[in-house]
Amino acid sequence: MANWIPLWLHKLSSPPVFYRFAGVLRPWAIALAVLLGLVALYGGLVLAPPDYQQGDDYRIIFIHVPSAWMSLFIYGVMGVAAFIALVWRIKLAEVVAMASAPIGAAFTFITLVTGSLWGVRMWGTWWTWDARLTSELVLLFLYLGVIALYHSFEDRRQGARTAAFLALIGIVNVPIVHFSVVWWNTLHQGSTIKLLGPSTIAPGMVWPLLTMMVATKLYYVASLCSRARADLLALESGKDWVRQIAENEVRG
């Protein structure tokens, strides 16, 4: 039977096992992320055809769109980890949730910056109070709130659990904000802005986009691994397995 999967997951949630597993996974993930990222950039910047209206300016979407996907995806991962951390009190889930927050905030920030760089060329303005832009900005503030709350506690585990609760409130809040902002915007002005729909996109542009999406996911895995490893070492600094690693470092 497939009994080994839950068993393996159960083992993986133990800090020393995850520490070794993440150490093995990280170099592979980062190498694949760089490789796929380069392929996607070449495909997006050189091979993909220029847009019939926007010329070459649209090419920023190969950074912008995968970052936007990641900003939501990482919030989802953080929310699931936060739920596990609060319900089952698994230490690794707390670490994963808190290590995800800065990465997600960074992707959200990249999304906003690349979006406004594109906006100044296409819309003639750095910023407009469009529904999507506003929701993304609120998402950034949610990430920053989680990070700030985590760091305001002296006890890191308590900080992690409290920030996890805030992350869960945020999960409820994100759709509410999104729909209220859509409602707000359509009341005041008609939607004059149409983002490129997935159905209307040229096939030459799709594969670099999807490749970049995989690359950003792998980068997230790699970054999460190294952050979680560092956090685990700090959290478990009194334990035997950490002492052994430290001793090996000194000897080697």
Partner: protein
């Protein structure tokens, strides 16, 4: 035989409410501070934007809303502060009565002490910015629904920061994403009323959100408090 009778639920709720209101009344000066703050902020708008009444009339509704929100944020930090310092919050957590109900009463007391004076003074603030008299009832209705919503949402966040020392800026950062929908609907009602359009829909949304928050926020507040003070 020990007397095992407990005070009834209603009795306990009233006791918490009376205690918090008495404490607030003993420090009436602190209660006036948000009101004073709102007055000062509102009187700054004409200085910054110029005294043209047409411009002021256009921004009046939104300006009063944001001013009241900021004044409430100022007072939010102190919601459970003294109770944490003198340990009465821990006693409340140990009490046999459900913590969520007790937190709901504390939030109600805080709303009565800070938001109600602001609502009383809101017509004056709006008048300073030349808000048309016909919009005034809508402003009061929006504030009556939006301020308890903010108090309830703020109560959860204050409970989350209960274990930390300084939380003023942190609270603002955490409250901003939560209050975006509240501000949008309240301001939407005001804008519609000012343009002579039907404004009942956004007010109804606020009311629905308030009903939801009255039920869920005390539970979330109690859960947050248990997490934040668990050590």
């Amino acid at each position: 035989m020990l007397d095992t009778r407990r005070p009834g639920l209603v009795h306990a709720c009233m006791a918490v409410l009376r205690r918090d209101l008495t404490l607030a009344w003993r420090q009436r000066g602190d209660m006036m501070l948000p009101v004073l703050y709102a007055l000062i902020v509102t009187s700054l708008f004409p200085f910054a934007l110029g005294p043209e009444s047409a411009l002021l009339r256009r921004i009046a509704g939104g300006a009063v809303l944001v001013t009241v929100l900021l004044a409430m944020l100022l007072a939010l930090d102190a919601m459970f502060r003294s109770d944490i310092e003198d340990g009465s919050l821990e006693q409340l957590m140990l009490a046999p009565q459900p913590l969520a109900l007790m937190m709901g009463m504390k939030i109600l007391a805080h709303w009565l002490a800070t938001a109600l004076p602001l609502i009383v003074i809101a017509p004056l603030l709006a008048g300073m910015l030349h808000l048309p008299g016909a919009v005034m009832p809508v402003l009061l209705a929006a504030l009556l629904l939006a301020t308890p919503l903010l108090s309830l949402l703020g109560g959860i966040l204050v409970a989350l920061t209960a274990g930390t020392r300084r939380s003023g800026m942190l609270l603002a950062l955490m409250l901003l994403p939560l209050c975006v929908p509240v501000v949008i609907f309240a301001a939407g009602a005001l804008a519609a009323a000012q343009e002579g359009l039907p404004w009942i829909a956004p007010i109804a949304w606020l009311g629905a959100a308030l009903v939801l928050a009255v039920v869920l926020a005390p539970l979330a507040c109690a859960a947050a408090l248990r997490i934040a003070l668990d050590s």
